[in-house]
């Protein structure tokens, strides 16, 4: 099993990667800091699992080099679990990528990162409702302070492939 960290550019994938592996990947507050993938290892239930920090992408139709790397990575790892990281203050944009990944049949866990920023901007997210609609675990996190990271790890094994039709059915409710 492999775990891929995916999401839009500048949502905090590398910060979460560093939190999980203890590695020191370069992170900065600019989109597109990670242009190639980086591998690391984490302990999950006593087993060593490979974790991959994938460059940020807006969609699975690549428009530049870094996005090509991301899509190729996803296509090569057919049995991977994907941790989809969404900027909680710009949820609607991250959901597009998340749905594309779910549609391709990958088990997904959603991390709503930068939850503190969203709260500062007075954005309230109904996490339970989102979880109910998507059918995948959704965990609010604040990667730079480490909040919610443990919960995110504990819910990785709950991830399972979801049929996109089911999400469409529930989305109308």
């Amino acid at each position: 099993m492999k775990i891929l960290l995916m999401g839009n550019p500048n949502v905090g994938k590398s910060v979460i990667f560093n939190r999980l592996t203890g590695a020191r990947v370069i992170e900065s507050n600019y989109p597109g800091t990670t242009v190639d993938y980086i591998r690391g290892w984490i302990q999950l239930k006593g087993k060593s699992v490979e974790l991959v920090d994938v460059p940020g992408t807006f969609s699975l139709e690549p428009k530049d080099k870094a996005e090509e790397v991301a899509v190729k990575m996803l296509e090569e790892e057919k049995d991977a679990v994907v941790v989809c990281i969404i900027d909680a203050s710009k949820v609607e944009r991250g959901l597009y990528l998340t749905l594309e990944i779910i549609e391709r049949g990958y088990p997904v866990v959603v991390a709503l990162n930068m939850d503190d920023v969203a709260k500062d901007k007075n954005i309230q997210i109904d996490v339970k409702k989102l979880e109910q609609i998507l059918g995948v675990p959704v965990v609010p996190t604040v990667a730079i302070s480490g909040e919610g990271i443990k919960k995110l790890v504990s819910r990785i094994e709950e991830a399972s492939p979801i049929k996109i039709d089911k999400i469409i059915e529930k989305a109308g409710d």
Binding site: F58, S59, K90, K121
Partner: protein, 76 residues
């Protein structure tokens, strides 16, 4: 002040506008939508005199090439 339709590149820094049309194909429209730019959104110009056009849309800052920015029509 009379309102009319401009190209995005004609806005001056700190001016606001509402996007009325994006004159491009599916690819461009999707690319802009995923960066928070679509018809109906209000945007604020940050920098437009040299090089890339920088705007704020939907609480995020986006830099666009001039070619792309010229295809965006705004109401101001």
């Amino acid at each position: 002040m009379n309102m009319r339709i401009h190209r995005l590149t004609e806005l001056k820094p700190e001016e606001w506008g509402r996007i009325v049309a994006i004159e491009g194909g599916r690819g461009l429209r999707q690319k802009l939508l995923l960066r928070g730019i679509s018809e109906g959104t209000t945007i604020r110009m940050i920098s437009c005199y040299h090089g890339p056009v920088v705007v704020e849309a939907n609480r995020s800052i986006v830099a666009l090439g001039r070619g792309m920015a010229q295809k965006i029509k705004v109401w101001r």
